[in-house]
């Protein structure tokens, strides 16, 4: 199973279209936007960045979640037909928290950037579990 297929997100929430780890601390991938999409492309671009970050640090079947977003900027609207190339780099890890810096480019021009924190989930407990 590829890391992309192991994501819990199903379409239309699977924002990242491709992902290729470059080394232990960086990954690149793509976000494709079509005329059929109904959600905010800017929001989904940020989601794609976070999904790629998860693909970098979480093994198959390991659960994690997005726990913080900071300093996100989108310089121009993402339009139907745009192919956004994303690079994500792991900046720091501490315990079960991971911080990333991500950048997005269209046709080689940077159009967005942001920082994300993902948390590894050991187990999920429900209110009535005990």
């Amino acid at each position: 199973m590829s890391w992309l297929a192991s994501l819990p997100h199903q379409i239309p929430f699977r924002a990242a279209s491709t992902g290729r780890p470059l080394d232990e601390v960086s990954i690149e991938g793509e976000f494709l936007w079509t005329a059929n999409e109904t959600m905010s492309p800017q929001t989904m671009l940020m989601e794609a960045m976070a999904q790629l970050a998860g693909g970098l640090v979480f093994a198959e079947k390991q659960q994690g979640f997005l726990s913080a977003i900071d300093a996100c900027e989108i310089d121009r609207a993402v339009e139907a037909g745009d192919v956004v190339r994303i690079t994500v780099r792991l900046e720091a890890a501490l315990g079960e928290l991971f911080r990333f810096r991500a950048s997005a480019a269209i046709d080689g021009v940077e159009v967005g950037r942001g920082r994300f924190v993902l948390a590894k989930a050991n187990e999920f407990r429900t209110q009535n579990a005990e």
Binding site: E91, L94, V117
Partner: protein, 94 residues
């Protein structure tokens, strides 16, 4: 490689960096006590802020924090953080 900074100057620099990086508006270095706890019960930092300190130590001083136990021990206050930076800077200079 960062040069050794006198301890009091280092403590002030760490306070300034925390205020800047954690966006503590309306706070000055004089508002943070050297021995005041940075996390629960003190300045109120959280685990996301601890990650920012990890990034800050690497970018400002070239110091890598190896694990969570080290962070727990050394991120307790400005004084312990300054001791940690001094110790690791000496090690890096060898």
């Amino acid at each position: 490689m960062p040069a050794m900074i006198p301890t009091d100057d280092l403590k002030r620099k760490l306070k300034e960096l925390l205020i800047e990086r954690l966006k503590f508006e309306d706070m000055t270095p004089d508002d943070i006590g050297d021995d005041e706890p940075l996390f629960a019960g003190g300045l109120g930092l959280d685990s996301i802020d601890a990650l920012e300190i990890v990034v800050m130590l690497e970018s400002e001083f070239g110091i890598k924090v190896k694990n969570e136990a080290s962070a727990r021990e050394n991120f307790r206050s400005i004084a312990t953080l300054a001791d940690f930076v001094e110790q690791r800077t000496r090690e890096l200079a060898r």
